[in-house]
């Protein structure tokens, strides 16, 4: 994992990351100079945050117990259930999700960027929404609609209304696949639409003048030009599906459909820690292998630098009579993947049973008192002291991580830019990008390996709030560096230097020039980090303990114990928090851009 992350970074974060991480070699600075102290300290920090847990988890599996675990997972009578079946399911899910996302996301991107579909901006916004919604929200909503009587307990809307829902539609691979596609297609959409937007109108018109018909232009020019984006989208959605925990856990586990991430969770939960670590390493290998493979496909071809056309104009094809039908299709896609799940969750958190989602509403699941006939005597979520605590813990966690992320991101981006060309900068850039390759649940396992026991004189961090903050911040490092960079990018060296020339001191420059320019970008970045943490389940699911409860984990607990309405109510709370934060971030971002234009 040396040069590869950077290429992916290039795909993900734009061309300038290349110059950033692999700059031209300048004369090296000595490590002992004062202005290299901070970068060296940062290097120590990222090594501790990212590299140390990975080395520790690897070493743990190389002890005698660990070697046994390798054998039992890979070469024993258990390995079919521990490794091969979960691997098969994982790959099937990954491939299915990648395909589905490319089709759905690609279709929407084509529609929005390359055609004269009505209300393009609205569609663009709608298509980007699902990624803001946690994947367990969609999984829970699926349950509220399609759950059948196989497991007992209350059934979903359809079965309660007399439709028979077969097992394959209620549980297992098919619903997991659908839920994950609904979650990840917007990631594919974002990548593909960006690529399509960069196909200049001139390229298309040149083909038109050459006499090519529409389909020929599409398959001969547009598709080949955006192939790298398609591959990037496929490998990222693949990796996302492979590392997702919530959907297979909620929809697959009840029927014993195991993926690598649910297996990993199960092993650690049942105390088979070494086996869990082995599976975590294998999961990292699978996910990283596919990302790496995608990169190889793209970088093997030297012909993919898009030359953008005049003014970034894109050619929009008239859809003719298909204009409105395709518009409706796009709206239906986003209704089904965004609004209906949210609505179903909301309704279900008020309805006494899923069969009648919109009648007999009760606020019991929200504010009802305990000890009644309802819900086996469970009180509503706002009467549950654990929930209130979880709400505060979640907000505290997300706020701390957002703050740490932005500070660390700024410091790292600054250190990398300042030391351009040195080994130090390259190491900083590469190491802070590594978490992209590590599924969060496996990352959490690595943190358990490192912090599960005392380190020297320090007490074990496992189970503390601090560990959650550290692990989440570490996993967000790639995002942190990227947003730090975009914030710094708004302040060119010239701006600071011109202030310097007027004779303004450091503090004055900071206060009057840099802070006003950076503050909005910082807030916007912090808010998105906040959302990422609030909706996260797969990282906290292993690190969570009763002393540090978080909302997503509570929702998961309620759901796996069969109290679906409570789970849905908590998920609605999470959705609301995410929604508010996203809107705020969007407003801030727009403002930043507006101000940039003027």
């Amino acid at each position: 994992m040396t040069a590869k992350p950077v290429r992916l970074a290039h795909r993900l974060f734009g061309a300038s990351f290349m110059a950033f991480a692999f700059p031209l070699r300048h004369p090296r600075k000595t490590l002992l100079r004062a202005d290299t102290l901070l970068p060296v300290a940062l290097l120590g920090l990222v090594v501790l945050l990212v590299v140390a847990p990975l080395i520790k988890i690897l070493l743990t599996t190389l002890t005698p117990d660990g070697i046994d675990a390798w054998f039992s997972v890979l070469a024993s009578s258990l390995s079919l259930n521990l490794w091969w079946r979960p691997l098969g399911n994982t790959l099937l899910l990954g491939a299915g999700v990648a395909t589905g996302c490319i089709l759905v996301g690609g279709f929407l991107a084509w529609l929005v960027v390359l055609t004269d579909v009505p209300a393009r901006r609205t569609l663009w916004f709608l298509a980007a929404l699902p990624f803001m919604i946690p994947s367990f929200a969609a999984a829970l909503a699926w349950g509220a609609l399609f759950r059948n009587s196989r497991l007992g307990g209350s059934v979903g809307f359809f079965e309660a209304n007399g439709y028979v829902i077969p097992d394959w539609l209620a549980w297992g691979l098919v619903p997991t696949l659908i839920v994950l596609i609904a979650h990840y297609y917007s990631l594919a959409f974002t990548i593909i639409s960006a690529a399509l937007s960069s196909v200049g109108a001139d390229l298309v018109e040149a083909a038109q003048v050459a006499g090519a018909r529409r389909s020929r232009i599409f398959f001969g020019i547009i598709l080949p030009v955006v192939t790298p984006a398609l591959i990037a989208a496929a490998s990222l959605t693949f990796a996302g599906a492979v590392s997702n925990f919530a959907a297979p856990a909620l929809l697959g586990l009840p029927v014993r459909l195991q993926t690598l991430s649910t297996r990993l969770f199960g092993m650690i939960e049942t105390g088979q820690t070494e086996r869990g670590f082995v599976i975590a390493l294998l999961l990292i290998a699978v996910s990283a292998a596919f990302l790496w493979f995608g990169e190889r496909l793209v970088t093997g071809r030297r012909n993919f630098v898009t030359i953008t056309g005049k003014g970034g104009r894109t050619k929009r094809f008239p859809l003719g009579k298909w204009r409105w039908p395709l518009f409706c299709l796009a709206v239906v896609v986003s209704l089904v993947t965004t609004f209906i799940p949210a609505l179903v969750l909301l309704a279900s958190s008020f309805a006494t049973q899923n069969g009648a989602l919109f009648s007999n509403w009760t606020a019991h699941f929200w504010t009802g008192e305990g000890g009644t006939e309802m819900a086996q005597g469970q009180a509503g979520i706002f009467r549950n002291p654990v929930l209130i605590e979880a709400l505060w813990t979640t907000l505290k966690l997300a706020l701390s991580v957002a703050a740490v992320t932005m500070i660390l991101g700024l410091a790292l981006a600054h250190a990398i830019a300042r030391n351009k060309g040195t080994l130090l900068a390259t190491l900083l850039a590469q190491i802070s990008f590594m978490p992209v390759f590590i599924p969060s649940i496996a990352f959490a396992a690595a943190y358990i390996a490192l912090f599960g026991g005392p380190i020297g004189p320090l007490p074990p961090l496992y189970g503390t709030f601090a560990l959650l903050v550290i692990a989440a911040s570490a996993h967000l490092l790639p995002y942190a560096v990227q947003s730090g960079r975009s914030v710094l990018g708004q302040i060119s060296a010239d701006i600071e230097e011109s202030a310097k020339l007027t004779g303004a001191g450091v503090l004055r420059r900071m206060g009057v020039i840099i802070l006003p320019l950076a503050i909005r970008g910082l807030f916007a970045g912090a808010l998105l980090a906040f959302v990422k943490i609030v909706r996260d389940l797969s990282l906290v699911v292993l690190l969570f303990t009763s002393t540090s409860p978080v909302l997503s984990m509570m929702a998961y607990r309620y759901a796996s114990e069969g109290f679906l309405q409570f789970a849905n109510a908590i998920t609605v709370v999470i959705l609301a928090v995410c929604l508010v934060a996203t809107m705020l971030a969007r407003r801030l971002e727009n403002r930043v851009q507006k101000w940039k234009e003027s």
């Binding site: 001139d202 003048v209 006499g211 090519a212 192939t227």
Partner: protein, 359 residues
């Protein structure tokens, strides 16, 4: 002989805005027509209509006697069916195809046989002198080379009409002059009719057999370049063309004479019935220094630039910039007063509204 290109009453409107407004031009086969004008004058829109990328709102475009677009019928012939090729300002090379692939693809689309395609690709590569680049990708070659590939790709299918959209604007000054003569060579070699859009009047004067000066969507003047230079019909043409830029002096009729301030410059008859007029003086018709018997003004020196052994001098007279010539190399201090003599009569007289008076 039918005209290779004839535009009649051609207009293009975007909402209320007329980008191209009632244009009537015709050029014979083999002509090199340059459309020149400031940015936003509609020249690129006109070119895109010729290429078939835009449909006219009114009027028609006729190629060799065949209507290819019209305001009534829309796009009569598709871009593919017009026997025209377009070289884009951005070159628009397809980044995923090699140089040879870029040139070959339009031939594939036109269903040429494999053998014919290969022969033609080799031929145009050689014509442009880029044989050794054939297996490279657009991102791997320089801007000048990309330009050659773009031209090679356009002439590949042997179109009867070549369209160029400011093709030299992305090149540096030296390369631009080189490519200019290269383009002329290719124009002659293909014996096609070319339409060339530029905002650079030097390109227009050096390359064109016919020039159309466009301003605000209308043709200000159309004709051979020398005609436009010698007999500009409007002040716009008179000041837009020619290096160094010509001077326009506003004069008033006083007692049978046209006066610039108190200075008598010409007889009132030259302005016809107009009370006020504008006189056109080329820079070389105003000399730095005094000459007996010729009108002289005293102006404030601003700047000087040596050109071909003489010096172009800019000076201010009553707040107005005047460009004159000095023999040899001339220097003065900014702010210094220098005499300027009108050694020739005005080369044209214009009404205040801009059109030419007399003749």
């Amino acid at each position: 002989m039918t005209d290779a290109i004839r535009l009649s009453h051609l207009s293009k409107r975007f909402g209320d805005f007329a980008a191209v407004d009632d244009i009537n031009i015709a050029v014979p086969k083999g002509a090199f027509l340059v459309l020149v004008g400031p940015s936003g004058c509609g020249k690129s829109t006109l070119l895109r209509m010729l290429a078939g990328l835009e449909t006219p709102s009114e009027g028609e475009i006729v190629f060799g006697g065949r209507v290819v677009s019209s305001g009534q019928a829309g796009l009569v012939a598709d871009p593919s069916d017009r026997d025209a090729g377009l070289v884009f300002q951005s070159y628009a090379l397809w980044p995923h195809m090699s140089v040879a692939g870029n040139i070959e693809w339009p031939l594939k689309v036109a269903k040429w046989s494999r053998a014919d395609r290969q022969a033609r690709v080799a031929e145009v590569l050689q014509l442009l002198g880029i044989e050794e680049l054939s297996q490279r990708y657009p991102a791997e070659i320089s801007g000048g080379q990309q330009q050659r590939v773009a031209i090679a790709r356009t002439i590949g299918p042997k179109p009867g009409i070549l369209l160029f959209d400011e093709p030299l604007s992305n090149l540096d000054a030296k390369l631009r002059i080189e490519m200019r003569s290269e383009l002329m060579r290719i124009h002659r070699a293909t014996s096609a009719t070319s339409v060339y859009v530029t905002h650079d009047q030097v390109e227009a004067m050096t390359m064109a057999s016919h020039v159309a000066v466009l301003n605000k969507g209308k043709v200000e003047q159309f004709g051979p370049p020398i005609d436009l230079l010698e007999k500009p019909l409007t002040t716009f043409v008179a000041t837009f063309l020619g290096t160094p830029p010509a001077n326009l002096l506003t004069v008033t009729r006083q007692a049978g004479e046209l006066r610039f301030g108190n200075l008598v410059l010409a007889a009132a008859a030259q302005a016809g019935q107009h009370e006020k007029a504008q006189l056109l003086y080329r820079a070389h018709d105003i000399l730095v220094g005094e000459q007996k018997g010729k009108p002289v003004i005293s102006a404030i020196f601003d700047e000087a630039a040596p050109i071909a052994g003489r010096t172009m001098v800019t000076a201010l007279f009553e707040g107005k910039r005047i460009t004159a010539m000095a023999d040899g190399y001339f220097r003065a201090q900014p702010g210094e007063r220098i005499p300027l003599t009108f050694i020739e009569p005005p080369s044209a007289v214009f009404a205040m509204s801009g059109e030419r008076i007399g003749e």
